[in-house]
């Protein structure tokens, strides 16, 4: 019998890990002492076993535990490293996985684990006025009245430029910070500072019931609300040993694809606007109203659909709605063909996208880039295909791959993907399984841990759920696709020209609510704004 991927991993981790076990058919958990962590990670990376998808922190009373999740297709290997609460410390894996920096910073500031040799220890998510010694995700931390501490001006403040880098459009502007240090034209260091949309959701899930959390988690992001709820529901169901009925799963997939359509059209419009193609922005958003209308007819809301309930869905499709949906899809497909011609053929647009911001397949793979951004570089990462969930096994999608890895490829990856969505929607509507919409879910979910991954419009959305047998979750960890992609994009800027930065960042379709960012630019003691950086980029490539 051929060795499975998990078997292979187990062998690789033989010497550095212990207590290997398979909590679920697709998961391998291995305990690792902090001192062996780097060796363990190295064995996986050297054998090119998967990519680091997320790092979860857990508070296990006397010890704090960090879980390093490596994914390869549907298989997940988790290295579990525990450290004493009193003097929590772990080595940094950035030497081996440069893009792990953001995960480690998050772990560090929320749990109070000191990461040794971390390249960047500055604040990632918590507000500037948050006390340094309050770690919100520790179980014994009371977050109800955390005082505001005076914000110390950073010593090199005068050398830094806080540039509110908006996303491409002001209405979607969300402040967040990128920090670049450049020596002349070359970027020598890049860092991320999030925090403007940091609401403290993960902590809040622990004090709400499983049902209440559904409504909370839907609102992590308004653009990809459904997939958040879906990942959560699937995970909770798996913990409870419940399987949603086939009709429900099919409807879940249907709504996921409708969400993908709205999201890609949104991004297309915003990208067009960024390129100054105002008319295309207007047309795509006008046409996007079609899918918004259909979604509203089906679920009752244009945004935050609330289609999921634990155990299934609460909406159904009748013949009339199905018919309307088919008509809508036909119309959108025709419009999308037109857009394909526009973005593929318009000279002015191409000049902003072709050969710009190239990311190689190797970089995309190693840095853990996910979603269309990865597929644009030829890396096949699509949870719908690799680890089918909902009804994707019966109604599969063919992932769209491009190979040039430039901004044009990223645009095309998304536009072409739309056709797949249209196709699968038709297939679903033609063959929707009959049956109930919900399976019964217990109010209390028995203790256990599970990992739930789904393909959001922007890429792999990763949920780690832990239950303790009560009505409230023990821990819910969310790793959004944009965090992976931003982190990788940033890493790629190091050693490249400043002029490359804007396009590299814009191309990953940042979901602003999932993460937020802003730009600090330290260029030989001079302050630069995002506009100046953009301008610089244009001049550089003149």
């Amino acid at each position: 019998m051929p060795e499975s991927a998990l078997d292979r991993a187990e062998t690789l981790l033989d010497s550095s890990g212990r207590d290997a076990n398979r909590p679920e058919p697709n998961r391998l958990d291995v305990r690792v002492d902090p001192k062996d962590l780097l060796t363990a990670v190295a064995s996986l990376m050297d054998a090119r076993w998967g990519y680091l998808s997320a790092i979860t922190g857990l508070d296990n009373d006397s010890q704090l535990e960090a879980l390093y999740h490596f994914c390869s297709g549907a298989d997940i290997v988790t290295l579990r490293a525990s450290t004493d609460r009193a003097d929590a410390s772990l080595p940094s894996v950035c030497r081996l996985i440069p893009s792990a920096g953001v995960f480690e910073r998050e772990l560090s500031e929320l749990f109070g684990i000191d990461i040794q040799d971390a390249p960047d220890t500055s604040r990632l998510l918590l507000p500037d006025d948050w006390p340094l010694d309050v770690f919100p995700l520790r179980k014994d931390t009371d977050v109800s009245n955390v005082p505001s501490v005076p914000v110390l001006s950073q010593p090199s403040e005068k050398n830094r430029f806080v540039v509110p880098i908006g996303p491409q459009h002001p209405a979607l502007k969300e402040p967040g910070h990128f920090e670049f240090t450049a020596d002349g034209e070359v970027v020598t260091a890049a860092s991320l500072r999030l925090g403007y949309a940091h609401r403290g959701i993960e902590k809040a899930t622990e004090s709400r019931s499983w049902i209440q959390d559904l409504y909370l988690l839907e609102r992590v992001c308004g653009i990809c609300s459904h997939v958040h709820a879906l990942a959560y529901s699937l995970g909770a169901e798996r913990l409870a040993g419940v399987t949603a009925p086939p009709r429900a799963q099919a409807i879940r997939e249907l709504v996921s694809e409708m969400e993908r359509i709205h999201s890609h059209l949104l991004w297309l419009g915003v990208t067009a606007h960024e390129a100054g193609f105002e008319s295309l922005f207007m047309y795509t958003w006008r046409d996007r109203e079609t899918i918004m209308q259909l979604v509203e007819d089906l679920t009752g809301n244009r945004v935050n659909y609330s289609a999921n309930v634990l155990g299934g869905v609460k909406i159904d499709i009748d013949a009339a709605r199905a018919h309307a949906l088919l008509n809508g899809v036909d119309f959108l497909e025709q419009r999308t063909r037109h857009y394909l011609e526009e973005v593929g053929g318009d000279e002015t647009f191409l000049r902003r996208t072709r050969h710009i911001g190239i990311m190689s397949a190797h970089d995309a793979e190693v840095l853990g880039v996910v979603g269309p951004s990865a597929r644009a570089s030829g890396v096949l990462r699509d949870i719908r295909a690799e680890a089918p969930y909902a009804a994707y096994l019966q109604f599969p999608v063919e992932p769209v791959l491009r190979h040039t890895g430039d901004l044009e490829a990223r645009v095309l990856a998304r536009v072409l993907e739309l056709f797949e969505s249209y196709r699968v929607i038709r297939e679903l509507l033609d063959n929707l399984p009959a049956g109930p919409l919900v399976a019964r879910m217990p109010r209390r979910i028995r203790a256990g841990e599970t990992i739930s991954r789904v393909e959001a419009p922007r890429g792999e959305l990763f949920y780690f759920l832990k239950s303790n047998g009560s009505e409230h979750p023990e821990r819910i960890k969310i790793r959004t696709p944009t965090l992976c992609n931003m982190s990788s994009a940033l890493h790629l800027t190091v050693g490249r020209y400043l002029a490359d930065v804007p396009m590299l960042l814009a191309g990953v379709d940042p979901c602003f609510s999932c993460n937020d960012r802003s730009v600090h630019l330290n260029v030989a003691g001079d302050t630069w704004t995002w506009q100046q950086l953009s301008q610089h980029a244009r001049e550089f490539y003149a």
Binding site: F277, E278, E539, A542
Partner: protein, 305 residues
């Protein structure tokens, strides 16, 4: 004396130019909106915008020189209104005229852009300074081709006097004999007004407002009026030179509006070019084409054609 005052302040000067500017701004915005499949603004919108701005609190950012900050919009507006007096408007002959006024008018029109740029430099806002840099870059890009394009008809008429050139062009549709000059002039005007696709200086408008980021009330109102007036004067010049002059108000209106429609179409059709691309494009191609055309005209003229 009264006649002169009327000409200066009302028609074809001051009031007429400003009102016409507001109407044309509306027409442009409305057309662009319709091309984008939207309804667009109401007819009095530009007027409402200006009055509202005049009533807003003017905040002088710290570190900025209040005197210069307040003077620049006035200078810009005054320049373009003065320039308007030498250009045939509304089917009337020019209010004033002297030999060489073509050069002066072109200078005054570029002064408007320079004031906008200086406005950005005066404030201490990073975005504004950045925007100012781009304004100047764009001015640098467009002045030469624009000049060369308008010189074509001047050479054909052997005169530096706008009234003469307009008279010479009357009935002769120079767009036919000098098509390149015509196109260059239109694109030059688009660049001058920072309309799409040549709006790189205002490119990140939502993120920042370019050079005028720090202006709030009256100053902003006056800059907007100056821009609208430049639009009218620019259209009038191109109509007079290339579209066979404008002897009466009806043909003047028709011709300037036709040009406006073309410009609105261009705004809607193209993606924004990068500023470096526009500069490169026009200095590499536009200027040479315009100069070649000029030479051709000059030679033909000497030869007696």
């Amino acid at each position: 004396m009264t006649a002169q005052l009327v000409a200066l302040l009302v028609v074809p000067g001051g009031a007429f130019v400003l009102v016409c500017g507001l109407v044309y701004e509306w027409l442009d915005r409305k057309l662009v909106a319709r091309f984008q499949n939207r309804v667009g603004p109401r007819w009095f919108q530009p007027a409402a915008d200006v009055v509202k701005l005049l009533a807003k609190e003017e905040i002088v950012p710290s570190g900025a020189n209040a005197l210069i900050l307040n003077a620049l919009p006035l200078v810009a507006l005054a320049s373009v209104l003065t320039a308007a007096l030498y250009v045939p408007m509304a089917g009337l002959s020019t209010a004033w005229s002297f030999n060489g006024d073509l050069i002066v008018v072109l200078y005054l029109l570029s002064l408007v852009s320079v004031c906008v740029g200086l406005a950005g430099v005066t404030t201490r806002d990073r975005f504004a300074i950045e925007g100012a840099g781009r304004v100047f870059t764009q001015v640098f890009a467009y002045e030469a081709p624009w000049l060369a394009a308008l010189l074509g008809p001047a050479v054909a008429a052997s005169s530096w006097n706008i009234a003469d050139v307009a008279a010479h062009a009357n009935g002769q549709w120079l767009v036919v004999t000098q098509p390149i000059g015509f196109i260059v002039a239109i694109v030059g005007l688009i660049g001058k007004l920072e309309l799409a696709p040549l709006d790189a200086p205002e490119a990140e408008t939502e993120l920042v407002a370019g050079s005028l980021t720090e202006y709030s009330g009256r100053g902003l109102a006056m800059f907007r009026l100056a821009k609208d007036a430049t639009f009218v004067v620019g259209l009038a010049l191109i109509a007079a030179f290339f579209l066979g002059g404008a002897a009466d108000i009806v043909s003047w209106l028709l011709k300037t509006v036709a040009l406006l429609v073309i410009i609105a179409l261009v705004q809607a059709l193209f993606a924004r070019t990068r500023i470096d691309q526009t500069v490169a494009l026009w200095w590499r191609i536009g200027v040479w084409l315009a100069v070649l055309q000029l030479l051709a005209i000059g030679i033909l003229h000497q030869v007696g054609l």
